[in-house]
């Protein structure tokens, strides 16, 4: 019988062992840029509203003050991402292109359930090592749908959802304010309040609020819907008023004196 061969496709977990060994020896592993994050989604009367903050952190540093966390998946579907920034970005890109091909193959608008299945099967294959925590929302022929996807591949289907480090702050707003049958404006306000709770109470979230409203056949991507952290105008300026520096000789032409010193030796 032939021995069990190493698979030629699929994830090789060898580096996981190596990284663990290095970490045990005391080597500092590089820190991935995380999104910190507060991301939310809610289902209202006519569709789905997604919300996200815009701060990307690398450890204690703010790497990007105004990043986009609401990713395009399909014309009728968007996905908020929390966790490792590279993972959310590339995962949504990969599934977005798969969805486009799927849509062309079937001749139909992609369904949210299709994106969900693709995402969860992809993430499960990597056993949680791809740190993507997503809030997926969209409107297809079967209506509005909202899903939460964890890095290990589990999914939840709920009418309101929060994810990321600021999720508890945002969830406390939702638990007090959500009810069935919200109007568009009420929904957007609630989403904005939830994200702002994350921005002001969670250190991993900050800057602005992005909102995305998805309804039947229409998407409103409201980048920078709320900007409660604008930089204040500088109080002082580096410009000096004319006349600040005193000078003695008002004549601007330089006085040419006799050339002194020996000329430069340029022989050979």
């Amino acid at each position: 019988m032939a021995p069990l061969l190493e698979p030629s496709t699929g994830f090789k977990f060898d580096n996981v062992k190596r990284n663990q060994m290095l970490a045990d020896k005391g080597h500092l592993l590089p820190r991935a840029t995380k999104t910190g994050t507060t991301i939310v989604g809610l289902v209202y009367k006519d569709g789905v509203i997604l919300g996200a903050d815009t701060r990307a952190t690398s450890g204690p540093i703010v790497a990007d003050k105004n990043c986009e966390k609401i990713h395009f998946l399909a014309p009728n579907m968007y996905c908020c991402g929390a966790g490792t920034a590279a993972d959310t970005e590339f995962t949504t890109n990969i599934i977005s292109s798969q969805l486009a091909l799927h849509s062309l193959n079937t001749g139909r608008e992609a369904r949210v359930g299709a994106a969900l299945t693709m995402l969860k099967q992809y993430l499960f294959r990597y056993q949680g090592h791809i740190g993507a925590y997503l809030v997926l929302g969209g409107y297809d022929v079967t209506g509005p749908h909202l899903y939460a996807i964890q890095a290990h591949g589990s999914t939840d289907k709920l009418p309101y959802m929060t994810l990321g480090s600021g999720s508890l702050a945002a969830m406390s707003v939702f638990e007090s304010g959500w009810r069935a049958g919200l109007s568009r404006d009420e929904g957007v306000e609630l989403v904005k309040d939830a994200i702002e709770a994350g921005i002001f109470n969670d250190l991993g979230s900050g800057s602005n609020v992005d909102v995305c409203v998805i309804t039947e056949g229409n998407v409103e991507y409201l980048r920078g819907y709320s900007t409660p952290n604008q930089r204040v105008a500088k109080e002082q300026t580096y410009r000096f008023a004319p006349g600040t520096t005193e000078f003695i000789v008002p004549n601007t032409t330089a006085q040419r004196g006799e050339e002194e010193g020996t000329a430069m030796d340029v022989s050979a």
Binding site: V43, R111, V112, G113, A114, L116, T117, K120, Y147, S154, T155, D156, K157, L158, P159, Y160, L168, A169, M171, S172, V173, E175, S176, W178, R179, A180, A197, F200, N201
Partner: protein
Amino acid sequence: MDPIEFRLPHTLQRPQSTTYNEPVTHSAGPIVTGTSVIAFKYKDGIMMAADCLGSYGRMSMFLNERRLLTVGDSTLIGMSGDFSDYQHMRHTLENIMTQEYDMDDGQRMGPKSIYKCVSKIMYNRRSRLNPLWNTYVVAGIDKGEKVLGYVDYLGTTYETPTIATGFGQHLALPTLRKLVEGHEDEITEEEAVKIIDRCMRVLFYRDSRAISKIIRGKVTAQGVEITEPYTVETNWDVADSVDGYGP
């Protein structure tokens, strides 16, 4: 000097060395615990609330515990953390109050002094590496001034108009900060009760070590009042919209 070997039948037998002195060990962790306490300043004074649960790890063991305590005649203390350490603190405070009374010097310990007292006890215990595994919220009105402070098992202290412990810091504090900070003196008692119920409801929804039976305490110029336990109303209409976990 040769170490003395102890063989106490009722204590856990830990591996003992006969050639050197083992280090002394202290509190490893809390056993029976209380979850969040929330408190904030309002027009007439300070309002505080906590649920009535004593958890034994993941088990909801004691369903009728009191985590709000009156000390003296104008101080309200809320506790979260280990119950046995809380009982010790209660005992200690009682003794201190009795001593102060016995001094018979016309002075009574007010909330400010009690807050200082609790802070010093907690920091001292942590410095001896044997903490009282609690977080306390001390509230009161001292000579007309509202006092609301936080002390934890590290001895960290701070005074702010809104305070929460444990899970309350994540789930209740954002709401408390939004609704209270900046206009504490305009919030009426009715509004304050609504805020308390709103926060305790969210905590019951999202803290797996919380129950819906709560008590509410208030300190005003008239003194301390703690309600009887009551149940916060919950709304489970969202259940109608939940169906499976995928397409």
